[in-house]
């Protein structure tokens, strides 16, 4: 998606009336295009003004206590009973991600595409499909907490070489959090570059290692997952490095969220 197409949709994006897929495409564009991101931010500020234009209504006095209790409980969560069921359900998520890694077409085609815009467009298509698949799966999981949030990232090579991946982080208020990362199309790595290290990064919390990938299949694909007792919602970036510390892939985690 190029800047011209994005600009045509900025107003609808700010008003929140794009489909999830279209909004995700624009959000991906904003990650690398500062000019469109700035324009989108200004329009979003204007749109938020409309939210303040409704006639005021007085909330019940007890609502504050309910809000405080809900947030406090979520922040100090982690009862012991829920993880087992969520973990069993998440086996399905892992299976779906492995299936996605087998597709690998997005990264491969992006690597072959000549123009930067084509590469980005293909990656965005991949992201859209991944988002739709992941969300659908999580929503359909039996016993899943409806308050779960799924964040996804499309991982790209900073140098736009062949290879890519997808990451999913499941933030659950009632059980452990989960990080899943699927790699694909990394066919040109040498043996000395293994093991690959997958990390989550946060401005405030630093780095968290998800795990190491010691080998890839013939299509340059692999997957890794890890449960975390702690809270993953501080982490915003996924990075895959080789054994020498060179960044192979990275991507920003996100749900459809305000540009602000």
């Amino acid at each position: 998606m190029n800047c011209l197409t994005v600009r045509e949709r900025l107003v609808e994006h700010a008003l929140g009336v794009l489909t999830d897929g279209d909004a995700s495409s624009l959000d991906r564009h904003f990650e690398w295009c500062a000019a469109c991101r700035k324009e989108a931010g200004e329009l979003q500020r204007a749109a938020a003004t409309l939210a303040y234009s409704v006639a005021p209504a007085e909330p019940p006095a007890e609502l504050e206590e309910r809000v405080v209790a809900a947030v406090r409980e979520a922040a100090g969560r982690r009862p012991g009973a829920a993880p087992r069921r969520s973990r069993a359900a998440a086996a399905g998520v892992l299976a779906a991600m492995l299936a996605l890694s087998g597709l690998g077409w997005g990264a491969v085609m992006a690597g072959r595409a000549g123009r930067l815009e084509d590469q980005v467009e293909i990656q965005q298509q991949q992201q859209r499909r991944a988002v739709a698949n992941f969300r659908e799966l999580i929503e359909d999981l039996e016993g899943a907490d409806p308050a779960n949030i799924v964040e996804v990232a499309s991982l790209m090579s900073p140098r736009l070489r062949t290879g890519g991946g997808d990451a999913l982080v499941l933030l659950s208020p009632s059980s452990d959090d989960l990080a899943l990362v699927v790699l694909s199309g990394l066919t040109d790595l040498r043996e000395a570059q293994f093991p690959l290290e997958v990390r989550l990064l946060s401005d405030r919390a630093g780095a968290l290692v998800v795990g190491h990938v010691r080998a890839l299949d013939s299509g340059g694909g692999g997957a890794i997952s890890k449960w975390f007792v702690g809270n993953l919602n501080a982490y915003s970036t996924v990075v895959v490095r080789d054994a020498r510390g060179k960044v192979l892939l990275n991507g920003g985690l996100g749900v459809q969220e305000p540009v602000a």
Binding site: E8, V11, L15, T49, S53, V54, A57, P59, D203
Partner: protein, 190 residues
């Protein structure tokens, strides 16, 4: 944390507030609610039409703010924008899910004389900008923005419902949003 003073928060204070929220700090949650609880509840009341739905929305919004607190960046926008965008998205999502539900008649602030106001600085500033924005719009523009922003109709849906070319709807939406944006330029930036 001293975020209960009147007047808009400084970016540094917004950042501290969100850090406190992330940790589940009682004072931070209450400070955030004190500033934005009423506008969030008001949005829920006017869009969803019942106190019960508005209360649920308010809980969902502050929970979502907690989940996303680490992503908030005061350098990229104000907390008042960020939080109300979350509230709007959640409310419109709910409207779309409940397709058969009856919609309340939308009441805007300039249609209610002596409406109760909030004392918090961020909200006063936002409401001033909203007043300017509403005053700048023609009736047709106001109706159009209402259907898109508060009812969640896409430009295509409006085009099909009204029998107007899609391009015309988009142009009119853009024109209306430019006016709202101008009304916003009077707001103090962080």
């Amino acid at each position: 944390m001293d975020a209960r003073h009147e007047g808009p928060l400084l970016p540094r204070e917004e950042q501290q507030l969100m850090e406190g929220l992330l940790e589940g700090d009682d004072d931070a949650i209450r400070a955030l609610y004190a500033r934005f609880g009423r506008p969030v509840f008001s949005l829920g009341m006017r869009l969803l039409g019942s106190r019960e739905a508005a209360e649920e929305l308010a809980q969902d919004v502050f929970l979502m703010a907690w989940r996303k607190a680490a992503r908030f960046d005061p350098a990229r926008g104000r907390l008042s924008t960020w939080l109300m965008t979350i509230a709007h998205n959640l409310a419109v999502d709910r409207l779309r899910r409940e397709t058969g539900a009856r919609r309340p008649t939308l009441v805007l602030m300039d249609e209610v004389p002596d409406a109760p106001g909030a004392n918090e600085g961020d909200v006063i500033e936002e409401r001033d900008a909203a007043t300017r924005a509403l005053a700048s719009l023609t009736d047709a523009e106001r109706r159009l923005l209402t259907r898109a922003y508060f009812r969640g109709l896409t430009a295509r849906e409006i085009s099909e419902a009204d029998g107007i070319p899609l391009g015309t709807v988009k142009t009119r939406l853009r024109t209306a949003m430019i006016k709202v944006r101008r009304a916003n330029e009077g707001k103090e930036m962080p």
